[in-house]
């Protein structure tokens, strides 16, 4: 789910790049020096993880992992995803270099919202709901990413409106798979390595249960 080069017009491409740069700097500011290596390795792991294909019927899908990025990195997820998006565009042509701003907004803002949702749910209900909270984070992140994609295509030109509708529809199976996988991953991480989460909102009692 990336926009290639040449599709967006100059207004959309440059304004999204400007907005994205602002959020990127804000996100980067939130990463402490001692968290730099964690962010870098999570970026690399997100990059590798998003290349893994999950079979769906006769075909396969690859995960976006934006929800997971938010869950693990919180505010820093935007910067990590911006770098992952740039590397994907430069190394594998997944998305265009001239559409990096739009592609980063598409991935990064849903990650921030997923982080807020996941940690909000966990703070309120404890770690026993990590799997459904992760699933909500995963599903919402894909849904929002596809809506951002549709929005960018929609404002680029009337001829892309049907493509935008098609793009959102095509993401429904990805949303379901991403929700399931992110839910299981969040549950696993909360059980095995809760300190990997962005900020552990779990109380000591929660950790014991």
């Amino acid at each position: 789910m990336h926009i290639s080069d040449g599709i967006l017009n100059s207004t959309v491409s440059l304004s999204s790049l400007a907005v994205s740069s602002g959020i990127f700097l804000w996100s980067l500011k939130g990463i402490r020096n001692q968290d730099l290596s964690k962010t870098a390795l999570m970026t690399a792991a997100l990059f590798v993880g998003s290349l893994i294909h999950i079979p769906v019927g006769p075909s396969s899908v690859h995960l976006l992992l934006t929800g997971l990025a938010g869950i693990l990195l919180g505010r820093g997820a935007y910067a990590a995803l911006a770098i992952a998006v740039a590397l994907q565009a430069m190394l594998f042509q997944f998305g265009g270099v001239t559409a990096i701003g739009a592609n980063t907004i598409m991935m990064g803002i849903p990650a921030l919202i997923a982080a807020w949702l996941f940690h909000g749910i966990l703070k309120r209900f404890g770690k026993k709901v990590a799997v459904p909270a992760g699933a909500v984070g995963g599903a919402v992140s894909v849904l929002l990413a596809s809506l951002f994609l549709a929005l960018f295509l929609w404002i680029t030109g009337e001829q892309f409106r049907e493509v935008a509708v098609l793009a959102v529809t095509a993401q429904i199976p990805v949303m379901v798979i991403e929700a399931i996988i992110t839910g299981f991953m969040a549950g696993f991480i909360v059980k095995v390595k809760p300190e990997l989460l962005w900020t552990s909102n779990l109380t000591p009692d929660d950790n014991k249960s």
Binding site: D5, L8, I31, L41, A45, Q93, T98, T182, F184, M185
Partner: protein, 310 residues
């Protein structure tokens, strides 16, 4: 509006050509018919690339790109890419593609890699080529093809031309990726990014992420192989998805555990929030000349697009 009515059978060659082109693109891009050695786990399983194509040394040698001061090279090439992406006419997009192709040839970059990149981006864009002609609404002066018996199916030539223009623009950007990225050592690239005003922290993340990407990819392959030797076969069942999720979660946990030793190694080497960067060669007149040539070409094509071909 010029309406041309076509017989129903014309749909067959249209879709046959599209299917053939897609098949060829998938083959070139390496998505179909990959050899099993390309992946740790074979067809039908979790597909993890074994190697991310990164190298600490320039991957080819050409006087034009390899001796070019990296900051000017990145700035000029990026400006050219953005200009090419914003062109509006088919003729200008074609001209931009010719210039990019010329530079790709001059750069000495491996043509096979360039073709693979072009094929990869074309797979995404083929959706536009198929859909845009049928979704572009008709305006005065448009040429519309209608298929006999399918009154709702209208093929707008303007939409088709626009899809081809987008494809040519994307190709002209993609062809410059190898010359821009792989004609300098990685150390010079990160120094150039610093010189271009990219924040120190971001460069640190890029450097470390690129350094460990292959390590993590190899680890993912090994974990996938271990899963396979235990009789795992991926499917869309709850059990299979749970196993794959656990594999990926373990990948993140192992990566996280590695960060501790990396952090300690960084501190031992005197890291205090700043990375040391390689000394870049001083820019000479030739570097500025090359930059000027590229920016000049971009401006020329852009103004031709705006003033002549609009």
């Amino acid at each position: 509006m010029n309406i041309i009515l076509l017989p129903t059978w014309t749909l067959l060659p249209f879709f046959a050509v599209i299917a053939l082109l897609l098949y060829i693109l998938f083959r070139i891009a390496g998505i179909a018919g990959r050899s099993k050695s390309d992946h740790a786990i074979g067809q039908g399983d979790i597909q993890i690339p074994q190697q991310i194509p990164l190298s600490s040394q320039p991957q080819f040698s050409s006087p034009f790109f390899c001796n070019w001061e990296p900051r000017i090279k990145i700035a000029a090439t990026t400006l050219y890419m953005f200009t090419a992406a914003f062109l509006q006419s088919l003729a200008a997009a074609f001209l931009a593609l010719c210039f990019s192709l010329l530079l790709a040839v001059i750069s000495g970059s491996e043509m096979k890699k360039n073709v693979r990149r072009v094929a990869q981006v074309s797979i995404f864009l083929s959706v536009l080529i198929i859909i845009l002609p049928f979704t572009t609404s008709a305006e005065t002066g448009d040429t519309i093809f209608k298929i006999h018996g399918f009154s709702l199916l209208t093929f707008n030539l303007r939409g088709f031309v626009q899809a081809i223009t987008i494809t040519l623009k994307a190709w002209s950007v993609v062809l410059l990726m190898e010359p821009m990225l792989f004609s300098s050592p990685l150390a010079h690239l990160s120094s150039a990014l610093k010189g271009l005003g990219i924040p120190e922290k971001a460069i640190g993340i890029v450097n470390l992420a690129m350094r460990y990407m292959n390590v993590i990819a190899t680890e993912a392959s090994q974990m996938g192989l271990a899963l396979k030797t235990r009789g795992f076969y991926p499917s869309c069942t709850k059990r299979s998805l749970s196993a794959m999720a656990n594999l990926m979660a373990m990948l993140f946990i192992r990566s996280y555990e590695r960060t501790q030793s990396i952090q300690e190694a960084m501190l031992l080497r005197g890291y205090h929030g700043r990375f040391l960067h390689a000394q870049l060669p001083h820019a000479v007149a030739t570097d500025w000349l090359k930059g000027g040539l590229m920016v000049g070409a971009a401006m020329l094509i852009y103004f031709m697009d705006q003033l002549i071909w609009q």
